[in-house]
């Protein structure tokens, strides 16, 4: 054995061992979805990501019980609440029952004079009291009187009613004493997990716990548990991607292996074919680990498909072997083209590498390293290995793509027409080209997203889209400023610009407000006198309001309400979710409901004092972010295209050849984009990533087509190589296209379509080998092939061959 194969094998073994060691020892595979969420620069962006990542909203689990009789649903709801309340995986659970709201109810009762909105001294004057008591008499006579009577003796001024009315805005409907959907079909619960919303594994554990508790709590057969929420999404996403990735890659791998086996009729050759791509994947994962510290699960899944192109590299070598040739002999002929194929993909990955979205740049590192290593392994390791075990010679295919391509050249104009139509269509749709909606990037099926919307509406959970954020240096000031902002927002509620809003100060008013309210309470003598005056002539029994006098006096002397007082009532969690520390300050979040006139709400918020309140449209915000990444990826892809062109020029030395290689591929991409637009809503980041793969694979097709021409002596080999490569790609990504996960199927459809079109275009518009190498040569194929050996294109072919 010569020195070079030995060195190559040694280096390869070292690389594989090193990568495997690193991956085994250090690689941390993360399930956190946030690597694929926009990282942050601005305040709104940080907040958005933070909300998605760890905010209380992200830890909220929406639970519904369906089926069976209403009473059974209610009974199960109660049992489920009891079970989950004991479970350490849940911080808090509520179904609206007296049991779950008991603690909160007691706090509200005890601190009603500090919590009641709009409370001031005038409420306890004789005239106000008189009005309140007359109102009470009417209430007693009315339908609501029955419920109201029990609180009349200690709360004649109706503070509890005021607090309840404010809270009712955000409370779901109730039946059988627990929360139900408006139509009564579902009993509803809300829970908060202890784990972060993006910690998919812990979320899965919480989900399993909920399912287990439900199975034990279910009061009757036929009842079903329905769960949704960001954490549930995280867990399901992980599960679904894992499931589909496992199955589809299994099937795709089997199909690819079958195609290769049929071609080579040798298991050893198939094994050798898999070697570069596996080496590349291992090295790529290790590289991502080294650069980023951890490897995202999705990066691994998508990265594995992205470097799927590398499966083709050995095929380009093995299929082009002629009788009597060794692998090194083939490589001598094929390597210059293959090298270009590898390098163009590496340059194409630049678009990913420099993305500021971490998930995408991880993908970039993985695909760049992977492809490069796979290319090197094909060049140096395969010959070294096959020196001992010679690969089988491939089976010939019963058709000749190159000749077919030459024959199809007559149909070339059709390709140009299709391209023109595609470009026109894209131009027509230029304003609706992109779909930056994060929800559409979600790998969850539409049904899951619809369910979430429905439960959210049933639970009267706030609009996830609009949010007012108040910033302040301290928690107290955040509370104060949010109270000021609330005063302006009330105006919007009265006008009907929005349905309502929530804020932490509703449950924990600022000390300023609490002090004002406490100071408004009159002393015992004053109140007794005012009450005596107010009840004169009314039919109330003497002494009926003794509890009221007692409670007001107690409230006058009681300390202010603090966050500690709210502990374990559920109200503390509410406050903590709406009042969050930020570096160097605090944010008070005010979720809005039923925003009907966003512009008006924005204007009102701008009017709030201090200029510290901001109106956020999270959807627009996230779309803007995704749009930013998309534009960045697009300009990087542009830079990549320029780099690829330069690279091709360095390799091919002729502008015409460069054009001839690049045009079919970019035409195929344009046609693919047009098809995707015609099929669906718009292009997402994932389509863009897939198009990069199409670029890589398509360039390979075009390069090899360009290399082979009638008379070049390698039509049959090239034809076989391209057939095998196309079939394997088609099989692998065709499988992916059947996935029910939008992202996976988007990748599958895009790549399958793009590669088919790339191949067709390479055949239709790619090669012409007679001066002036016209792009639209309409002369009959035979006439052209006559002069094949003396044109510049043939010269190129000769040159590549002689290398």
């Amino acid at each position: 054995m010569k020195l070079y194969p030995r060195a190559a094998l040694l280096l390869w073994t070292a690389l594989v061992a090193g990568s495997a060691w690193w991956v085994g020892r250090h690689a941390h595979f993360s399930d956190e979805l946030t690597a694929f969420l926009p990282a942050s620069t601005g305040r709104a962006e940080r907040l958005l990501v933070e909300q998605v990542r760890a905010g209380a909203a992200a830890r909220t689990m929406l639970i519904a019980i369906e089926g069976g009789e209403p009473a059974e649903r209610a009974r199960t709801s109660r049992a489920l609440v009891r079970a989950l309340a004991e479970d350490p995986r849940f911080d808090y659970v509520n179904n609206g029952s007296a049991e779950s709201t008991h603690a909160a109810g007691n706090i509200v009762l005890a601190h009603r004079y500090l919590l009641s909105p709009g409370l001031d001294a005038s409420r306890f004057g004789e005239r106000s009291l008189r009005r309140a008591l007359e109102e009470d008499l009417e209430q007693l006579g009315s339908l609501a009187g029955l419920a109201f009577k029990s609180t009349l003796a200690y709360d004649p001024t109706g503070e509890l009613r005021r607090i309840a009315e404010a809270a009712a805005e955000t409370a779901p409907a109730r039946r059988h004493g627990v929360w139900f959907s408006g139509d009564g079909e579902r009993a509803l619960l809300i829970a908060q997990t202890a784990a972060s919303g993006t910690d998919a594994l812990s979320q899965q554990a919480a989900l399993d716990a909920a399912n287990g508790a439900f199975a034990r709590a279910a009061a009757a057969p036929g009842l079903r548990l329905v769960v949704s929420g960001p954490g549930v999404f995280a867990a399901r996403t992980r599960g679904a991607i894992e499931h589909d990735a496992r199955w589809l890659t299994g099937i795709a791998g089997a199909l690819v292996a079958l195609i290769l086996l049929l071609t080579y009729r040798s298991a050893l050759t198939v094994a050798l074919s898999a070697l570069p791509v596996l080496t590349g994947l291992l090295a790529g994962v290790a590289a991502v680990g080294v650069v980023f510290g951890s490897v995202h699960g999705i990066t691994l899944a998508f990265g594995a498909t992205l470097i799927g192109e590398a499966v083709d590299y050995p095929s380009y070598v093995f299929t082009q072997r002629r009788a009597g040739e060794t692998v090194i002999d083939v490589l001598r002929r094929v390597w210059p083209t293959l090298r270009l194929a590898v390098l163009t993909t590496v340059f194409g990955s630049l678009a990913l590498l420099f993305s500021s979205l971490q998930g995408l740049s991880q993908l970039g590192v993985l695909s760049m390293t992977g492809v490069l290593v796979a290319g090197l392994a094909t060049r140096w390791v395969l010959p070294a290995l096959s020196a001992r075990a010679a690969p089988a010679s491939p089976r010939a295919v019963p058709f000749d793509l190159v000749r077919a391509g030459t024959a199809l050249r007559r149909a070339g104009p059709i390709a140009w027409l299709v391209l023109a139509a595609a470009v026109a269509f894209i131009a027509l749709r230029h304003d609706r080209l992109w779909d930056d909606d994060l929800a559409h990037l979600s790998p969850l099926p539409r049904a899951a997203q619809d369910l979430d919307q429905r439960l959210r509406a049933d639970l009267r959970a706030p609009d996830v889209r609009y949010l007012v954020v108040v910033t302040a240096p301290s928690r107290e000031e955040a509370l104060e400023r949010s109270e000021d902002a609330a005063a302006t927002l009330e105006e919007g509620v009265r006008e009907g610009a929005l349905g309502g809003f929530d804020l932490a100060a509703r449950y924990l008013p600022s000390r300023r407000t609490q002090e004002l309210r406490r100071a408004a309470l009159p002393d015992a003598a004053t109140l007794r006198e005012a009450l005596a005056g107010a009840t004169r002539g009314l039919p109330f029994r003497p002494g009926a309001f003794a509890p009221f006098l007692h409670d007001v006096e107690a409230a006058r002397k009681a300390p202010l309400l603090s966050l500690e007082d709210l502990r374990s009532s559920g109200l503390d969690l509410k406050v903590q979710s709406l009042l969050v520390p930020r570096e160097g300050g605090w944010n008070a979040l005010m979720p809005l409901r039923e925003v009907r006139v966003p512009a008006r709400v924005r204007a009102l918020v701008r009017k709030a004092p201090y200029g510290s309140a901001a109106f956020l449209d999270l959807k627009a915000e996230s779309e803007r972010l995704v749009g930013g990444y998309r534009r960045q990826a697009l300009s990087l892809a542009g830079a990549g295209a320029v780099a690829i062109a330069a690279l091709l020029y360095a390799g091919l030395r002729r502008v015409r050849d460069v054009l001839r290689v690049m045009l079919p591929v970019y035409a195929a991409i344009a046609m693919t984009v047009a098809c995707l637009l015609a099929l669906g809503d718009g292009l997402s980041l994932f389509h863009l990533v897939s198009l990069l793969l199409v670029l890589g694979i398509g360039l390979n097709y075009a390069l090899f087509f360009n290399r082979a021409g009638p008379g070049s002596g390698n039509e049959r080999e090239t034809s076989l190589a391209l057939s095998v490569c196309f079939l394997t790609t088609f099989a692998a990504f065709g499988c992916l296209a059947t996935s029910r996960i939008p992202v996976l199927s988007a990748i599958g459809v895009t790549v399958t379509l793009g590669c088919a079109l790339s191949l067709a275009n390479a055949m239709l518009m790619g090669r012409a080998h007679r001066p002036p190498c016209a792009l639209m040569d309409r002369r009959p194929a035979l006439q052209r092939s006559a002069g094949a050996t003396d044109g510049p294109c043939a010269r190129f072919a000769n040159r590549t061959r002689s290398r």
Partner: protein, 197 residues
């Protein structure tokens, strides 16, 4: 139908049977819940005057209220109180609208179980809607077609906390008196004089 309901219905039917048998041994024709509902279901609209006396422990004297009632099949009802203060309560479908002091408030009955139960004790009875009544109450009928009493006991614990029982008395398809007894001992009696043509 689930076994729980089946069992309850069976128990109810058995109770009726036993009661019926005992009564039959007595003399006159007994009225079943189903028959009563069927009779009531024949009325398409009705107008009535009512007087209501509420005994409230916090008050020295009972509250006296009066006004008119209007019902139109299938689910429209209007209670127009004129004394001691004006209040109009309209119910249609799930919507309850209260008009008082020039202010109008509207709530969903489904979101307010107690109010829903009170409204249905009157509306579902007027409608002869057996299913609605049975979902909210355990109904029991006593008496004969020309002089019957429908006893309603709330099923929902939340409603039961405020209402011990409701007794609706009437003759034929007409309601004459509704008495609501609360757990605390307070009660209200509404007497109805039908004015339907």
């Amino acid at each position: 139908m689930t076994s729980g309901r089946l069992l309850r219905s069976f128990a109810f039917a058995a109770a009726l049977f036993v009661a019926g048998a005992a009564h039959a041994a007595g003399q006159e024709a007994r009225l079943t819940f189903g028959q009563l509902m069927a009779t009531l279901a024949q009325v398409s609209t009705s107008h009535a005057r009512y007087r209501e006396v509420k005994h409230v422990s916090m008050l020295k004297e009972p509250l006296n209220l009066s006004g008119t009632l209007f019902y139109a099949r299938p689910d429209r009802m209007e209670k127009r109180q004129t004394r001691p203060f004006a209040e109009v309560i309209r119910v249609e479908g799930d919507r309850l609208t209260v008009e008082r002091d020039g202010r109008t408030r509207s709530v969903s009955l489904r979101g307010a179980p107690l109010v829903d139960a009170l409204v249905e004790s009157l509306r579902a009875t007027l409608a002869g809607d057996a299913a609605s009544l049975e979902s909210l109450y355990e109904p029991r009928v006593e008496g004969a077609p020309d002089r019957w009493t429908l006893l309603l006991t709330p099923r929902d614990p939340e409603v039961a906390a405020a209402v011990r029982s409701i007794a609706v008395a009437g003759s034929g398809a007409r309601l004459a008196r509704i008495e609501i007894v609360e757990p605390g001992g307070d009660s209200s009696v509404m007497t109805i004089e039908d004015e339907s043509p």
